[in-house]
Structure formats: C-alpha cells, structure tokens
C-alpha cells in the first residue's frame, strides 16, 4: 500500500500543472503564484509526500481542486454506482459464463458450441468502448428500447443510492453491465470449458459412468463442482479488474461512478481525486486477494486437511 501511495504521488507530480486549469488561461502570474502557495505546491517534494501519506493514514484525501469538495464525500457518492455495476456484471459473467462453459465443455464439437466460442472471442478481442457504442447504437438509437446513458431513477437510502428498485434504474443497468461483463464472461466460459473437458476424462468420472449414474448428475454434481475451484479463484481476482475496467464503461455510458469521476479528474489534473482513486482501487485489490485466499480454506478440503495434519 505504501508503494502504491508513493507511485500515485510521484506519478501525479508529473501529469501537469493543476494551477493552470484551476486559474484559467487568462489569470495573472501573481494569482498563479498565490494559488500554488495555498496548495503547498512550493514545498519540497519530500514534505509534500509526508503530508500526503499522513493525511491518507487519517482517512483525509483532501479537497478536490476542481469541485472544491471533500474527496471522501465525492467517492462516497460515486461508490454505490460503481459497485452496483460491478456486482451485476460479475453475476452476469459468472452465471452466463458457467452455463455456457459447461455446455461447450460437454458438447465439444456441436455447432452451437462453436458459435458460442466464436462470439465469445469477439468479447475478448473487441475493445470495451466499441462494444458499448455498438450496443448503444443497436438498442438505443435503432431499437429505442434501452437508455444510452446514465443510471435512470435511483432511490436514495441515505448512505447508499440504488438503481435496483426502479424500472428505469434496472433498464439503465442492462447495457453497461453487459459491456463490462463480456470480457470476464469469455474468460469464465473458456476456463469452465477447459476444466470440464479435463475432468470428464478423469478416472472417477469414467468410473461413475460405468456405475450407470445419470449424465446430468455426473456433469453437474461431480464434474462441475470440482471444476469450479479455479473459477472462483480467477473471478475473485477479476472483480478487482472489473472495478478498474469500469472506467471505460462508465465513460461510454456516462455512468456516475468512480471511474467517470477519475476520468474527469485526469482531464483537470485534480490530484487529490486521482490519488484517492488509485489508493482505493489498490486497497480493494488487496482486500479481494485476501478474501480469496480465505475462501480457499473453506472450499478446498486439501488445504484444511494439511492444516490439521500439522
């Protein structure tokens, strides 16, 4: 975390001069100097860094240069939008990915499997913003059935704003979550498929077949269950990636989440928001890895057995 703090701090020291965007291009030199002094940009770099780390340790991310508001408030407002989007995308990716993955794993050479695989290839190879724009063009401009931007009507629960409770909020979720999930979905499909194919060759499956157990039970109870362990690992780690990837999706769909906040901050050289965002994402990554490691313990009996034998 300290390294991330250092990297984000030093990175933003070289992205440009915030004073220029803050004062406008026709401000006088005295005014610039004054703003620079107020922001503490004239202090030596190590003092600036010490102040930066000290503030973060106290949970103070500072005041946005551009919006003149507490960065922690801004992130608090934007976080629900991003997390809801990521949650729906992750669900979509896992459920669709597992179902299609099992199907293509069992029916290896069928026509439908090949179609699924080819389409999913498009999912990884096309950039997110093109997929987003294509979906907008199809469903908003041509068919006119889904909104092209925004979050729809949201319900404010006090600490959290949710789009799950209104029809327009749910409709607004569809296109961005598909866009965001497509890459992960492809990943999951291929992973599940490979696992299924491998497991279906193993001796215990052959043995189960020999015992005359029904195909469905073999496929879903025995094979899939064992195949899911690596899938959980990978998707767990990838939820962090989804949050990071959401920058592009949020920009395309004008989704009022952290990603679009970050992008606006980059344009303006709003250093407090940028560094807070970086540190937030790094923190989420660390937490997710931690949680995934713990879930191993519960899912994989071998890890537990090793512990006990010690």
């Amino acid at each position: 975390m300290f390294i991330v703090a250092f990297v984000s701090f030093s990175l933003f020291n070289f992205v440009g001069d915030p004073v220029n965007s803050m004062t406008g291009e026709d401000a006088s030199d005295e005014r610039r100097a004054e703003v620079r002094e107020v922001l503490g940009l004239n202090d030596p770099v190590y003092i600036q860094f010490a102040r930066f780390v000290g503030n973060i340790a106290q949970g103070k991310f500072g005041i946005s240069y551009q919006l003149k508001r507490e960065v922690s408030d801004l992130i608090g407002e934007r976080l629900p939008a991003t997390l809801e989007l990521v949650f729906v995308s992750a669900m979509l990716a896992i459920i669709t990915g597992v179902v299609l993955g099992v199907y293509t794993g069992i029916h290896r050479d069928s026509f439908i499997s090949n179609v699924i695989l080819i389409v999913s290839l498009a999912g990884v190879s096309l950039p997110t913003f093109i997929i987003g724009i294509m979906l907008i063009y199809l469903f908003s401009v041509t068919l006119g059935v889904l909104p092209s931007f925004g979050r729809g009507e949201v319900t404010d629960l006090g600490f959290w704003t949710t789009g799950f409770l209104t029809i327009s909020g749910l409709k607004a979720l569809i296109l961005p979550s598909i866009t965001l999930s497509l890459f992960q979905m492809t990943y999951v499909i291929r992973l599940v498929r490979a696992e299924m194919m491998e497991i279906l060759q193993t001796d215990y499956i052959k043995f189960a077949r020999a015992r005359g157990i029904k195909n469905n039970i073999i496929n879903y109870k025995h094979a899939l269950k064992n195949g899911l362990i690596p899938v959980i690992t990978i998707t767990g780690i990838n939820i962090g990636t989804l949050i990071a990837f959401s920058i592009i999706t949020e920009t395309v769909f004008q989704w009022p989440g952290m990603g679009s906040l970050f992008i606006n901050a980059v344009y303006f050289v709003d250093i407090p928001i940028m560094s807070a965002y970086m540190i937030m994402v790094a923190f989420i990554f660390v937490m997710i890895n931690f949680i995934v490691d713990i879930t191993y313990y519960f899912i994989d009996p071998r890890i537990r057995l090793k512990e006990e034998s010690n």
């Binding site: 001069d17 003149k68 507490e70 724009i133 908003s140 401009v141 006119g144 395309v252 050289v269």
Partner: protein, 524 residues
C-alpha cells in the same frame, strides 16, 4: 371491472394533464458546471449554468450586444466613476427583494480572493450602495470596457450568502464545502430545483421573475452531462436528449441526415494560431545555432505563406472552420473583414523568402501542440507540419494533454526550456481587442510567449485601456493591428466554429460563445 377501468382512466388522464402543457428541454454537454457559486470559477460550462439562474447588472444578448439586466440605466459621472440605477421589484428565488446592497456585495465578493473573477474585474476599485436603488462603481483610472466585464459578474443575495456561511467563494484552509457551491439563489428566469453534480440538474421556470416570459415557452430544463461524444450523439438521435451545445465535428453529417434533428453553426469568439518565439537569441529545438530564424520577419512570412488553411478546413475540419487572417474573431471590436483576409497560400514565395533570409535549405524545430483542448488540435498541427515540410522547414511535433501543454508554453518544460513554436487559441470574453493585446502583445503580457516587444504597441495597449472616447480608442486599436499584422507576430489559423444540435422542434438561439440562453428558447 368497471371500477378498474375507471381507476385506469383517471390515472391516464391525470398523467396526461400534468405533462401535456409542460414544455421541457433535456440539455446535454460534455461537462457540468463545476460549482453553483457564481464567483468561484471563471469557466465556460459553469457560467452557462449560472446564467440561467443568476443575473448581472448588464448581460450579453443573443448577438453579444450589452443589454441592461438588473441595472435599468447607468452613466459615467466621472472617467473613473459609474452610477448604476437598479431595477425595482426584483426578487430572489427565496422571495427576498434585491437591493443595491446585494449588488455592491456581489461585486466586492467577486473581486476578493479566493474568487476566480479577481483578474477579470481587477480594475474595479470599489462598489458601494448609495441608496436602495443606486450603486456607485469606482475604477482604477478610466475603464472603457467595464460594462463588458460586468456581464460576467452575477449578483447574489447578501443576506442569503451570509446566512449560509459563504461570504467568500470557498475556503481552502478550512477545507470547507461551501453551501453556495451546491445551492443557488438568483434573480433569473429559472431556478434550480434539483442538482446532482455531473448527473442531473433540473431548472424550473421562476414564475416571480421580473422579466417577460413571453420570449420562451420553457417550463423545465434538465441538464444531463454526457462526456463521451459518441454517447451524446446517440442520446440525441435516440431522443433521450433534446439539445446539445457541443457537437463533435465528425458526427455533424450523421445528425443532419436525421429528419428529426437540426444542426446550427456560427463562428465562435475563439481564434486558433501558432506563436513563434521571435525574441529569444536562439531557439531551443532548432538546428540553427547562434541566431533565431524567427527574429527575421521574412521567415515568419514564409511560414505564413506555407499554410493552406482552406485545405485544413476541408480535410481536417470537415468544413467546420473559418480561416483567419487576424487573431481575433468576427464580432469582436477591432475585427474587420479586410483584416481577416489571409495572405495567399504560396509555397514558392515561401521558399524564395527563406532563401533571401539565408535559409535556402530550411531549418528544423519542434512545434508544441495540445491534443485535447481545441477542435482537432493535434490533427491541425500534423497537417501544418506537412505544409511546412514542403518549404523545407522540418517541424517535429510534440503533442500532449492541455494541462502539460499550457504549463510548458507558459513556464517552460521541466528543464526550463521554453517553447519555440506552439499552438494556442484565444477566446475574447470581453469582445474587445484590448483583451487580445494585453495578454498576447504587450511586452509584459502573461501569454506573450513569442517574446514580442514593441514600444509603440505597448504605448497603444496602455492608452486603449483607459481611453473612453470610442472613436479615438478604435483608432488606437486599428493602429495596433496595423503594426502587428504587418509584423506577422503570430500565424493566424482559423476561427473555431460553434455547433449545436437539437430536435427539429426545439429552437435555442445559437450564440458565438456557445452559451445557450433558455429564456429565448422555444419548443414548438
């Protein structure tokens, strides 16, 4: 069953009645207002939002002419003293009445740091309320463009600002979020009834407005910012928004092809140009050592004749530009159609001029360009570099994001190297040439990064800043342009264009500063 049908009918009818008469506009632009505090940011989109809600003593009309607003009339009683007579019966959105005290308070608030309007009205020495309906404004010496400057100063309620702890725009040291940054209380034709920054802002018609609502039929405006160009265009085409004042050049043809939409265009008040460092002894990036090629007027002229702006207009700008001969746009005092004529595109003449100046084989240097500030900025630079290559001048492109570009042009790069040649665009909010001269031509001008210095021009700039006799002053402006145009101080490129697009039944007058005035808008 009958009951159900009745209930259904009532629901349908009530829905019908409540919506059928409300003419509303859904407006989108890439960014949102940064703050509702009218003095905290001197920035385009911020003023666009404030202008619907707040009013000034005077205001620019559709064609940027200065109209009375909260001041009914005014007179200059001495060269440095102005008396404004305040309109009676004006009410703020919270119901309180406007007094001269509110106006004096607002001007003083705007001219006190940390307000962002400090530089704009630094010539104002004091503003005081003489009685309830009269305000006296004193300036540092005569200021012929005071009214232009005052169009940007919005009036707040003194008691409201004080009651909510925002006597000043914001307080860095206290790290406080100002109430006035997220709430507005103006005197204007619309009031803000809902605001979620960057997501949605709702304006509703102010029925207690002093002015005449007959010039528009808008009851409700919703501002829905959409940053991504393609998404904004898609939202327009799918009918989710009615109007946008920022249209990407590449999508104009697509929107025009839709039967239900229209696109309007007008020259903006921003002119794009190249600056060439002609004052330094030696260029930093050039292979010519010991002297500065740009110090020779023939070289600057050669660069001028090498640029084919019509080709750039056709190929790079897709017709969306007005090639310029002067770095101030039409509609700004000092601009004339004659001055706006470009010198001919003539690469042969350029080569001859270069040979005459002692550079028959040309020379090499670096051009600094922004890549996210002006319309197609980097593409213009790339095209210009090809044209310079034809006359033997090898130009290397250094394109970067605006925040870096501007600070490097202004203060030099990390090694203190100043730019030899750069792209810049200059918008003129005061609609007067003095704004161009005091920044770009005066020896001490803060954006005079070509190191131009001319004693006569300095003298004229100082004089036009205080001369109140309009004819004499216009003669000074004309003389200054004569000198700098003959000198080829800058290389004018083109005037940018303002585009806006809307549904065909939505009529928002287009203005050269890209600022919509919904009090003149109609939905038919």
């Amino acid at each position: 069953m009958k009951k159900l049908i009745n209930i259904f009918l009532v629901l349908v009818m009530s829905g019908f009645v409540s919506t059928s008469y409300a003419a509303s506009i859904k407006w989108s632009m890439p960014g949102d207002s940064l703050t509702l505090d009218p003095h905290a940011q001197n920035e385009g989109p911020t003023h666009m939002v404030s202008r619907q809600v707040y009013e000034g003593l005077v205001t620019p009309g559709i064609d940027m002419e200065i109209l009375p607003q909260l001041a009914e009339s005014w007179e200059a009683t001495a060269p440095d003293t102005w008396i404004f007579n305040i309109r009676k019966g004006v009410k703020f959105h919270d119901g309180s009445s406007l007094t001269a005290g509110d106006i004096a308070f607002s001007i003083n608030r705007a001219k006190t740091a940390p307000s962002d309007m400090v530089d704009l009205i630094k010539s104002v020495k004091s503003a005081t309320a003489i009685d309830d309906n009269t305000v006296e404004v004193k300036t540092e010496g005569p200021n012929p463009i005071l009214l232009n400057q005052l169009t940007q100063i919005f009036v707040m309620s003194e008691s409201w600002a004080k009651a909510n702890g925002c006597e000043v725009s914001y307080n860095w040291d206290a790290g406080e979020t100002s109430y006035c940054a997220s709430n507005a209380n103006g005197t204007g034709p619309f009031k803000i009834t809902f605001r979620e920054q960057d997501v949605r802002t709702v304006f509703e018609k102010n029925n207690d407005w002093w002015g005449d609502h007959s010039s528009h039929n808008i009851d409700k405006i919703e501002l829905l910012p959409i940053k991504n160009d393609a998404t904004r265009v898609a939202a327009l085409l799918s009918g989710e928004i009615d109007f946008t004042n920022v249209v990407p050049v590449q999508d104009i043809a697509r929107i025009k092809s839709s039967a239900e939409h229209t696109v309007n265009m007008t020259p903006s008040n921003r002119t794009i140009f190249f600056g060439m460092d002609q004052g330094s002894a030696e260029l930093n990036s050039s292979n010519v050592k010991g002297k500065n090629p740009f110090a020779d007027k023939r070289v600057r002229l050669a660069m001028y004749h090498a640029l084919d702006m019509e080709a750039i207009k056709d190929k790079v700008m897709r017709g969306q530009s007005f090639p310029a001969g002067i770095i101030t746009a039409p509609g700004i005092n000092g601009h004339t159609p004659e001055r706006d004529q470009r010198l001919a595109y003539d690469p042969e003449l350029s080569k001859a001029l270069l040979a005459e100046a002692g550079y028959p084989d040309g020379f090499e240097l670096t051009l600094d360009c922004p890549n996210d500030r002006y319309i197609n900025d980097e593409a213009i630079c790339v095209a210009a570099i090809g044209m310079f290559a034809k006359i033997g001048v090898t130009v290397n492109l250094d394109a970067k994001t605006k925040s870096q570009h501007f600070s490097e042009v202004k203060e030099g790069d990390a090694n203190g190297m100043t730019s030899d040649m750069y792209m810049l665009g200059w918008g003129v909010p005061t609609f007067d040439s003095h704004y161009v001269y005091s920044y770009l031509f005066e020896s001490s001008g803060s954006w005079n990064k070509v190191n131009f210095s001319n004693a006569k021009v300095d003298e004229l700039v100082a004089a036009m800043g205080v001369e109140t006799d309009l004819d004499k002053r216009n003669a000074m402006i004309a003389e200054a342009w004569d000198i700098t145009q003959a000198d080829v101080t800058y290389l004018p490129l083109h005037h940018q264009v303002v585009n806006q697009a809307s549904k065909s039944n939505v009529d928002v007058p287009i203005r050269m500063n890209n600022e919509p005035l919904f009090r003149f808008a109609n939905v038919n």
